[in-house]
């Protein structure tokens, strides 16, 4: 019970830890940038009245939501090369797995958001002759996204945390770097406390940013969609 804390290991390896954090953020950002538009596309397919569009999208969501992230990643990293000879690096495999995973989850957020917009808004948009793409872009999605903003943030934070699975396929993210340092220095407690704080700070920053955006949106026009 007389553990001697020694945080010098953190300052000694600060550069390496920040590099790992940078990689974690990069991986998460890529998964967000690919997963969000892909999720929207899947949501629109699921909402389509055409069964040939809705059905594959439903299968996609159900399959990729059900499979654990780690299983998807291992499949891409270990099974795919065996099947196709196509060998992915740890970063590529993780980026693809996380993009697909987030698109499956985000499509449900989009779908819920779009479905929450009342019939009157669609009627009014159709009533002035707007086409479907235009009414989505200017009438439906701006309202749906505003309403869903907190849920999007929650999903993005979840994604940031899930991105640590990339360490298992030797991608140098924050978790991988932390493991590496702790193997070398045996300062596991200090290092994992430090990266817990780093995750906490990043996530805190994100929530504050979203709050700011929400506040600005609320000021620019209140939401009383019927």
């Amino acid at each position: 019970m007389h553990y001697q804390w020694d945080f010098s290991v953190i300052s000694d390896n600060a550069g390496l830890l920040l590099w790992g954090l940078g990689n974690t953020l990069l991986l998460t950002l890529i998964a967000i940038l690919i997963g969000t538009p892909l999720g929207l596309a899947v949501a629109l397919m699921r909402l389509s009245s055409r069964r040939s569009l809705a059905w594959p999208a439903t299968v996609y969501v159900e399959v990729f939501r059900a499979a654990p992230a780690l299983v998807q990643l291992y499949w891409l990293y270990f099974a795919l090369p065996r099947l196709t000879g196509l060998r992915l690096g740890g970063f590529e495999a993780a980026a693809i797995a996380l993009s697909i995973l987030s698109s499956a989850f985000l499509s449900e957020v989009f779908r819920g958001g779009i479905a929450s917009i009342g019939k009157g808004q669609w009627d009014a948009a159709r009533g002035i002759g707007l086409g479907y793409p235009r009414m989505l872009r200017t009438i439906i999605l701006p309202q749906a996204i505003r309403r869903m903003l907190p849920v999007f943030l929650e999903r993005y934070i979840e994604l940031l945390k899930t991105s640590t699975i990339a360490a298992t396929v030797s991608f140098g993210d924050l978790l991988f770097v932390a493991q590496d340092i702790s193997y070398r220095t045996y300062r596991t407690l200090e290092i994992f406390s430090a990266i817990a704080v780093m995750f906490f700070l990043v996530i805190l920053l994100c929530s504050q940013l979203t709050r700011l955006v929400e506040h600005r949106l609320a000021r620019s026009g209140e939401f009383t969609a019927r």
């Binding site: 009627d123 009014a124 948009a125 002035i128 002759g129 707007l130 086409g131 701006p142 026009g221």
Partner: protein
């Protein structure tokens, strides 16, 4: 072939599942005239109105706009198929005003009125804004263009919604219980706006529960009952001297519209 009827409806039927709401409607709305649809709730008047601009797709029958039937025949049961493109073009020429206003809450009044002009008519930002400002001034809302719908009263919101429809330069305006969601003291300003439109020669098809207003504004009153036209004619005839028992009962049931000799 030219016609003076903006809207010609014939044999129109509409079912929701097994429930038939409209059971064969024939109705014309002549250019420059105001036709008012009356009837108990559930009589199908709102559905009929929504079939005119195809927010509801008729199950059978035709709607002709400026003499041209909408859609193409399909099968033998009076069904028709409608292309998306055709309906969009049609809706751009038919203004509709809803009971719940349905303004876009994330846009200012001005942006609400500009959206259709920009997206559908391809007007420039300046042109669309100028038209929107002019319309707002016309309905007594000059200078309120920057306000979001949530900062406007119900009556003001509905007048903005009327401007949004008018901005498309429609050939006909549809009003679906435009004052039913308003507080009583706000009804007047919307009715005055509608009356001014009539005086400007706008063609209108109106569903309303304001019988006094209907009496004064209508060129023709159409009384619907159970999905059919039960009685129609000039307001004096249908509202003051109804022939049918159901029409008579309906007029008597609306105490705000007193018909002394019927009491």
């Amino acid at each position: 072939m030219t016609t003076d009827n903006v809207i010609e409806i014939s044999g129109l039927r509409k079912s929701f599942g097994a429930h038939e709401v409209l059971k064969g409607i024939d109705l014309v709305v002549p250019k420059g005239k105001t036709v008012v649809l009356l009837g108990a709730s559930g009589s199908g008047k709102s559905t009929l109105l929504r079939c005119v601009n195809f927010l509801e797709t008729p199950t059978a029958g035709t709607v002709a706009f400026n003499g041209k039937p909408v859609g193409t025949p399909k099968g033998t049961g009076g069904e028709r198929s409608y292309s998306d493109r055709e309906l969009r073009a049609l809706r751009a020429h038919i203004g509709i005003v809803f009971q719940q206003f349905n303004l876009f809450p994330h846009m200012t009044a001005l942006e609400n009125i500009m959206e259709g002009q920009r997206a559908v008519l391809g007007r420039s930002r300046e042109e669309a804004a100028a038209r929107a400002e002019a319309l707002l001034a016309r309905v007594g809302l000059a200078g309120r263009g920057g306000a979001y719908p949530s900062h406007l009263s119900g009556g003001q919101q509905q007048r903005v919604a009327i401007c949004r429809a008018l901005a498309m330069d429609p050939d006909v305006m549809l009003f679906d219980e435009a004052t039913s969601a308003l507080d009583p003291e706000l009804v007047g300003e919307v009715l005055r706006t509608m009356k001014a439109l009539r005086e400007d020669g706008m063609t209108m098809l109106i569903v309303t529960h304001e019988l006094g207003f209907a009496y004064h504004i209508a060129d023709e009153v159409v009384f619907l009952s159970e999905g059919r036209i039960y009685e129609q004619g000039p307001p004096e005839q249908v509202m003051l001297h109804p022939k049918g028992e159901r029409t008579r009962q309906f007029m008597l049931g609306h105490s705000e519209f007193r018909l002394p000799h019927l009491d």
